[in-house]
Subunit: 403 residues, 2 copies
Amino acid sequence: MIYLDYAATTPVDKKVLQKMLPFFDKNFANASSIHRPGQLAQEAVELAQKIIAQSLNCQPHEVIFTSGATESNNLVFQGIFKALAADSKFKNQKLHFITSNIEHHCVLDSLAALQKESPQRIQITYLKVNSQGLINPEKLKKAIQKNTVLVSIMFVNNEIGSVQPIEKIGRLIASVRKKRNKNNLPLYFHSDAAQAFSYFDCDTRKLNLDLVTLSAHKIYGPKGVGALAVKTGVRLTPMQYGGGHQRGLRSGTLNVSGIIGMGEAVNLAQKQRKDNTQKITALRDYFIAQIEKQIPGAKLNGPRKKRSPNNINFSFAGAEGESIVLLLSQKGIAVSTGSACSAESLESSHVQLAIHPKNHLSAHSSIRFSLGKFTTKQELATTVKVLKNVLKKLRKTSKDIKV
Amino acid sequence: MIYLDYAATTPVDKKVLQKMLPFFDKNFANASSIHRPGQLAQEAVELAQKIIAQSLNCQPHEVIFTSGATESNNLVFQGIFKALAADSKFKNQKLHFITSNIEHHCVLDSLAALQKESPQRIQITYLKVNSQGLINPEKLKKAIQKNTVLVSIMFVNNEIGSVQPIEKIGRLIASVRKKRNKNNLPLYFHSDAAQAFSYFDCDTRKLNLDLVTLSAHKIYGPKGVGALAVKTGVRLTPMQYGGGHQRGLRSGTLNVSGIIGMGEAVNLAQKQRKDNTQKITALRDYFIAQIEKQIPGAKLNGPRKKRSPNNINFSFAGAEGESIVLLLSQKGIAVSTGSACSAESLESSHVQLAIHPKNHLSAHSSIRFSLGKFTTKQELATTVKVLKNVLKKLRKTSKDIKV
């Protein structure tokens, strides 16, 4: 199998699995137990927390473990909304959230649920990206109001790989915040860095980030575990209660083996970031060049420059995305039409529609190839060859060939 | 190490780990992906779902995977409350919940949060248990009102092992429900069976259960994964949004390896239930007899008969529970004062206070020994011997010896 769907999920790195193994059946105790085995588990959890905190340049206690990026992102929106909406000081104010129109479903759906539940207390601005899938920081600045409490912009888009100007946005938010009276509503900056962490420095101080979402299974760690960095002072109401684990912000028995795995995944990602970025960027550029050279009617979606090293997204005129995925799969190549999370839905990707507002066809024929640290040039060469044949076959039967 | 804290968590069974391993780095795909590797992951998830559904006598699609029992229980309360509170048909009604005063913190805290958030829409009855920690079904029946929407009673108490009359309660609720008009509020029955599943049949039809909570790490499966069985028709608003996984009830990338592990853990628990119950019950009775024979001032907490096979809970007059745990730990024996989840808190256990309402001292000196399938008679004999010495030492220094 040629696996080109690393943005959907990654294999667990052997080094990560090795670190996890003892915590299944040897050091298996509950990290909340006060006996020695419990304390050993707790110490291992704290080490993982420290590794992640160092990588984000924040304090270890500011790192909360969750079941994944979806939970982390939901916790950000629900948690901040509930904490501020319950404060009688702000009872006559609508809480304003700013995000983009190409965020992950878990951001958009989480906000939509709050909007439905409490329409009288929430106001949401969905910033439009340009045709490259990029936010304009000046437009973002203009969107900030007196009652804006959170700006949430994903670091790297999961479908088209656009890299947002997080550092610029962070500076801009910090400057607005400085002018706010301390009795007023707070203004926080959050970024979902699930797709970014392997390739970009996520230093919360440098980027002025108050909250950062990470996912283990996108960086060669296990599924079912994620993190949320929450700067001290950020007001957040928990989503799930009981036991008071993790400073009361996220109760539930700690997933010790998962957390250890995430710690090691972060450790490796940090160490390998420079080399992987260099290697994978070269592979990406080779692949884009080969497709553009060898395959007629291929149109790159997303930016050419401000693009994640591992993302390639093309629309192939005259062929349906889903059919391409299925035929490639038959030939042993795994790619996707867009986000795996919405693979079961037949709707056009909201990200593609955001960058091609008038072109449903282009959205329907888009394919995401996402590379990873085990991808080879040979695999990409083979993929171009197979793709050529697959497209020939599909275009023969297509009624609307526009090549 | 002699591990007598199986109620806090269990080691992952080697057979469970073997089933999980391929899903970390070989069959690692995202179960939502439509390519072949994704579909293989999805098929494995469906098999686990089927195993769990069979064990609960419900439909596979009625089994939802969560991050653990805490999330499952929170989803029950938040989900049912939100779904019914948002229904304009019931907008002038308070929603009534019935539970017991010895439930797990995640039940009590979840309800307390709803009470705080929406005091005008919720009413909660906390049924008192008797001195054995048992619910009186007749009292429960009397507590049911026209606006009661949920009765939630844990199957086996995690601290004192009392086994509630779930079948009786289920029949009783079913009979009340029959008389309700279909336009009225629904009446659901939920049980947290996290501590019960290894030893008791959790057949949802036989027990008339609408919702059941399970946890993998209490039954020799991995931490970070649990399940909630939700009968078709039960109205439930999700806690976390995005992607619409699991019929929209619980979005988030499926924790494939964890789910596979949970499937196998449930499979083994079912197969071994009869043998383990027999073996562990005998060990429990041996241990209780030895303590009562050899250790003066030992008082059994919880019922003698309606007691989980693996639970032993004693108060030792003249000694602090925490000190006993720490000294036993030094001697290589792992036990706990009560629930691991509240180990970090210095408050008396709410379960002990519920059965000894006037005796804080007894609550403060209680120790839980919880047995598992790897426990041996020799380990228990050694524990009694060491405990004797530990208590001698502690009682020498105690100011309030009442032995």
